[in-house]
C-alpha cells in the first residue's frame, strides 16, 4: 500500500506540473494572447486582466511562478475565471457536487444492473438471451454517449414531454419542503443518470459475465453442486462472490469512464456540473477555469484509483499477503 500511496503522490505531482507547464511552453503562447491588446483573445475587462496577470505572474522567473502556482494549488487558490469573474475554486465548489451526484448515481445503478445481468447471462451462457445481452452490452458500451443522450432527450424530453429538457433543477423555483426540492432535483437527474448508466453498464456487464463464466468451471463449483446446494445459493453466494474481484479491480477505470461520460452528458443536458463548467470555459477560452477543472477532476479520479486499490487489497487475500 505504501508503494501505491507513493505512486499516487508522484502521479499527482506530474498532473500539477503538466498543468503548469502546458500553457507556458506551448508555441503561440495562449496566455500572453489574453494580455496582448493586439490579439483577438485580449481580455478587455481591466479587473479580470489584473487577476489573470496576478495569477499567472508571467513577468516573473519560471521557478518563482512554479512555487507560487504550487502554493496556490494547495491553498485552493486556482485563479479567477475570465468570463465569470469569480474565483475558480468557488465555481468548482458549486459545480462538483452535481457531478458527484450524477456519476455516483450512474455508477451505482450500472454496477447493480451489471452484477445481476452478468451473473444471469453467464449462468445461461450460449442461450439466445445471453447472446442478445452480450450484443446489447457491446453496443451500449461503445455507442457514443452524446448520441444516446440525444435520443433519450428527444424521446422523453421533447416527444413525450415527461422529463425536463435541461438543467439541474427548475430555475427560480421555490420549494415548500425539502422533499419537493429533492423531487425536483431527482426529476432533472433522471435522464442524464440514465444515459450515463447505459454508457457504463455495457463494459461492467461484459466483465462480470466473463468472470462468472470462468468461476463456473472451477472444481469447487462442482463440489458445491454435488453437495446439493440450491441453484440460487450456487449462483449468488458462490459464483458471483468469487467473480467480484475483477469487478472491484476495474472500479477505478470505470470511475474514469464515468467522468468522460459526464462531461458529454452535462454539456448536452445543460447539467450544472464540472463537465458543463469546462464546456463553457472552452467556448470562452477561459484558461484558468479549464486548468482548474482539469486539476480537480484529475485529483478526484486519482483518489478514486487509490481507494479502489486499497479496497482491492483488502478483499484479495493474495494481495494482502504481499504486504
Amino acid at each position: 500500500m505504501q508503494r501505491r500511496i507513493l505512486s499516487y503522490l508522484l502521479t499527482l505531482w506530474i498532473v500539477l506540473t503538466v498543468n503548469f507547464l502546458l500553457p507556458r511552453l506551448l508555441p503561440g503562447d495562449p496566455l500572453a494572447a489574453l494580455l496582448d491588446p493586439q490579439s483577438s483573445d485580449y481580455v478587455f475587462d481591466a479587473e479580470a486582466r489584473a487577476a489573470l496577470e496576478a495569477y499567472y505572474g508571467l513577468d516573473r522567473p519560471l521557478p518563482e511562478q512554479y512555487g507560487r502556482y504550487l502554493l496556490g494549488a494547495f491553498t485552493g487558490d486556482l485563479g479567477r475565471s475570465i468570463r465569470l469573474n469569480r474565483p475558480v475554486g468557488e465555481l468548482i465548489g458549486a459545480h462538483l457536487p452535481w457531478t458527484l451526484l450524477l456519476t455516483g448515481t450512474a455508477l451505482f445503478l450500472a454496477s447493480l444492473l451489471a452484477l445481476l445481468g452478468g451473473t444471469e447471462a453467464a449462468w445461461r451462457r450460449g442461450s439466445w438471451r445471453d447472446r442478445v445481452l452480450v450484443t446489447a452490452g457491446v453496443v451500449a458500451g461503445n455507442a457514443p454517449v452524446y448520441f444516446v443522450g440525444m435520443m433519450l432527450l428527444i424521446l422523453f424530453g421533447a416527444w413525450l414531454g415527461w422529463l425536463p429538457l435541461a438543467g439541474g433543477r427548475t430555475p427560480f423555483a421555490h420549494y415548500d419542503t425539502p422533499l419537493a426540492a429533492a423531487a425536483d432535483v431527482g426529476r432533472h437527474l433522471l435522464l442524464p443518470a440514465l444515459t450515463l448508466t447505459l454508457a457504463l453498464v455495457g463494459a461492467k456487464f461484459l466483465l462480470v459475465r466473463s468472470s462468472v463464466v470462468s468461476v463456473l468451471s472451477e472444481d469447487f463449483m462442482l463440489v458445491l453442486r454435488a453437495k446439493g446446494l440450491s441453484e440460487g445459493r450456487l449462483k449468488w453466494a458462490h459464483a458471483l462472490r468469487n467473480a467480484l474481484l475483477p469487478f472491484v479491480a476495474h472500479l477505478a477505470a470505470h470511475a474514469s469512464m464515468a467522468i468522460t461520460g459526464a462531461v458529454f452528458i452535462e454539456a448536452l443536458f445543460n447539467y450544472p456540473g464540472m463537465g458543463r463548467l469546462i464546456f463553457e470555459a472552452v467556448g470562452a477560452r477561459d484558461y484558468p477555469l479549464i486548468q482548474g477543472v482539469f486539476l480537480v477532476v484529475s485529483t478526484v479520479v486519482l483518489t478514486a484509483n487509490l481507494l479502489a486499490d486499497w479496497l482491492n487489497a483488502r478483499l484479495d487475500p493474495r494481495l494482502r499477503a504481499e504486504q
Partner: protein, 276 residues
C-alpha cells in the same frame, strides 16, 4: 458455446459497415449533390428533392456535409490509430526487449497516463494547442498509446521466454532474425486488433471534441454538424432534429459500432480460447 458461424458474423458485419463508410468517403465528390461549403439554398430548408436532408442554418446542403464528413472521421481515425499503435508498439517493444530501468520508467509513464481521466486531459491539450484536425489526431495518439504498449510489452516478454526462442538464440540467431522470425508474428495480430480499437476510440473522441466546441471550424465533421444543430435554440422542439441532428449522430454511432464489431470479430478469430 458460440458457433464459429456466429463468430464470423461479427467480423462480416463490421467489415461491411467499414466498407460502406469508406465507399461514402471516397465517392463523396461524386455522390454529394453540392459543395458542402456552398450556399446551395435558403437557410433551414425542410427536406425536398433538391435537398434530401434539407439545409442548415447557413444554407449548406446537409446531405453533402454528411458525405464529406465521412472523409474527416475516417482520416482522423486512420491517422490517430496508426499513431497510437506505432507509439504503443515502439514503447512496448523497447520496454519488453531492453528491460531494466528503462522498462520501469516507461511502465511508470504508462501507469500515469492510464490513471488520468482522458477526456479532461484531451480538452486541456486541444484547448491550448488549437483545435485543428492535425492537432486533434496527434493528441489522441499521444494519449491512447499506453494500452497498446502494455499489451505489446507483455507479449514480447512472454515470447522471449519461450523455449523455441531461447533455443534459437542459443544457436546464434541474431536479434534481427529473432524479431522477424519469432517476435513479430506473435505481435502482429495484437497490433491489428489494437489498430481497430484505437480507430473506434479516435472516431468517438474526434466527434466528441467537435461536439464540445473543440472541433476544427474549417473541417465540417459529424461532431461539428451536431454542435451547430444543437446551437440552434429550440431545435428539439421542432422536427428539424430529424434530418439535421439524427443523421450525423447515427453516422458516428454506426461507424464506431462497425469498428467495434470488426475488433470483436478479429479478437475471437485470433484468440480461439476466447470462444466460450
Amino acid at each position: 458455446m458460440r458457433r464459429s458461424g456466429r463468430l464470423g458474423g461479427d467480423l462480416v458485419l463490421g467489415l461491411a459497415g467499414l466498407a460502406l463508410f469508406a465507399a461514402l468517403a471516397l465517392l463523396a465528390g461524386v455522390l454529394a449533390p453540392y459543395d458542402p461549403h456552398a450556399f446551395s439554398g435558403q437557410p433551414l430548408e425542410r427536406p425536398s428533392p433538391a435537398h434530401p436532408l434539407g439545409t442548415n442554418d447557413a444554407g449548406h446542403d446537409i446531405l453533402s456535409e454528411l458525405l464529406y464528413g465521412a472523409r474527416i472521421s475516417l482520416t482522423v481515425a486512420l491517422g490517430a490509430a496508426v499513431g497510437t499503435v506505432a507509439l504503443g508498439a515502439l514503447v512496448g517493444g523497447v520496454a519488453g526487449t531492453v528491460g531494466g530501468w528503462l522498462d520501469g520508467l516507461l511502465m511508470r509513464l504508462v501507469d500515469v497516463l492510464l490513471a488520468l481521466p482522458r477526456l479532461p486531459l484531451l480538452i486541456l491539450l486541444v484547448a491550448f494547442l488549437g483545435a485543428g484536425l492535425a492537432q486533434t489526431t496527434v493528441v489522441i495518439a499521444l494519449l491512447f498509446w499506453p494500452a497498446t504498449a502494455r499489451v505489446v510489452r507483455a507479449q514480447v516478454q512472454s515470447v522471449r521466454q519461450r523455449g523455441y526462442v531461447r533455443m534459437a538464440r542459443s544457436w546464434g540467431g541474431s536479434p534481427g532474425y529473432l524479431l522477424h522470425r519469432h517476435v513479430l508474428p506473435q505481435i502482429g495480430p495484437l497490433l491489428l486488433s489494437g489498430l481497430v480499437t484505437a480507430a473506434g476510440q479516435a472516431v468517438a473522441m474526434e466527434a466528441g471534441l467537435a461536439f464540445l466546441g473543440l472541433g476544427d471550424p474549417t473541417a465540417k465533421s459529424w461532431g461539428l454538424m451536431m454542435r451547430f444543430a444543437l446551437n440552434l435554440p429550440g431545435l428539439l422542439l421542432t422536427d428539424r432534429w430529424l434530418w439535421w441532428l439524427l443523421p450525423p449522430g447515427l453516422c458516428v454511432t454506426l461507424l464506431i459500432l462497425a469498428l467495434t464489431f470488426t475488433g470483436v470479430g478479429l479478437e475471437t478469430r485470433l484468440h480461439p480460447r476466447l470462444r466460450k
